[in-house]
Symmetry: D2
Subunit: 110 residues, 4 copies
């Protein structure tokens, strides 16, 4: 895999994760069992913000790719761990996107 | 007032508003009456994001100052309107910061 | 076209434009005729920032979609106009992505 | 120093650094010796973006404070190192703000 392809894959994973996190955030705020989802809501937005920051930075070839991807991997892992506690479809889909993004970011950071 | 002072005042108002919105967001997510605060939570974060974007853009003398301040004023007004419905101290403080920021942004946009 | 599809198309256009602007930004900073590209460099980054902000906000179904898309359309048009003055391939590609994004944003804002 | 005061000091240092970086960015793009400032321009914006992201995240009490401050410290040190090579007043002021911000972020990350 070329370096350019690795960047491209990581950007795509970050954007897919941003999307899943934002969808989970909006959906969680509409759920009946809202009180159980406090941490989920916060982590969704925290993770979405970091993912979109990472995608933008990688697409301009930032000098801090390793550090940003390291941070992004941690946020994705924390968000996945929280989402995996819940049965909502949006949580499951979010956890999955977070795991894929964490993996892509770990490869980049290495 | 010089143009530079106007920029500076607007940046300060945006940053104070970001702070109040973020504090209201975190505090709302801890409240017992969480279900009543769904819109408040969303608007807090939406408004904080727009305020911090505006402050950053103004501090680099963006060519889109008028449009960004127009957007920021609208977000601040919507967030203030929502926060004014609630009795929590963090909501009242947030509404106040939003009103001040909206005013500063309206002056900039004019 | 469903509303969801319209959002999706606009997000995709914003992300494609962010990418083209960031590429043009990085490439312009390496060019020999750097002095001619001062405005191009500034507009590239301004436009990329607004595009990524718009994509993120749209993906969380922001209440300020119309205002954000209006702002994004203006930034894209300004960046396209500047890039169209230059002969570099990255400028031409950027101008094209900006025009497509401006169109998608104008539809959303309407 | 209370934890809250430490957060507040770090947010203030990040915002002062964002401001100095953005000012250096805009000023560098107007300089006659533009070609010497390519790296400075890129690092200014990279650093400003990370500082504003850090300030926003800290003000909402992010769970990733240590990681974000670690990243911010690295960006500030890189930007300071570059700015210290140049004689422009805006570069010197930027380097100073970067060094102060790096220090505040290192304390937070510890």
């Amino acid at each position: 895999m070329t370096q350019e392809q690795q960047y491209r894959d990581c950007i795509d994973a970050c954007l897919a994760c941003m999307d899943a996190c934002n969808y989970c955030y909006v959906s969680s705020l509409k759920e009946y069992d809202l009180a159980m989802l406090r941490d989920c809501i916060r982590l969704n937005r925290e993770c979405a913000d970091i993912c979109v920051f990472a995608a933008d930075a990688l697409s301009r070839n930032t000098m801090f790719a390793a550090e940003i991807c390291e941070l992004c991997a941690k946020a994705c892992e924390a968000c996945a761990e929280e989402c995996e506690k819940h049965e909502h479809e949006h949580c499951k889909a979010c956890a999955k996107a977070c795991r894929l993004c964490a993996e892509a970011c770990r490869s980049m950071a290495a």
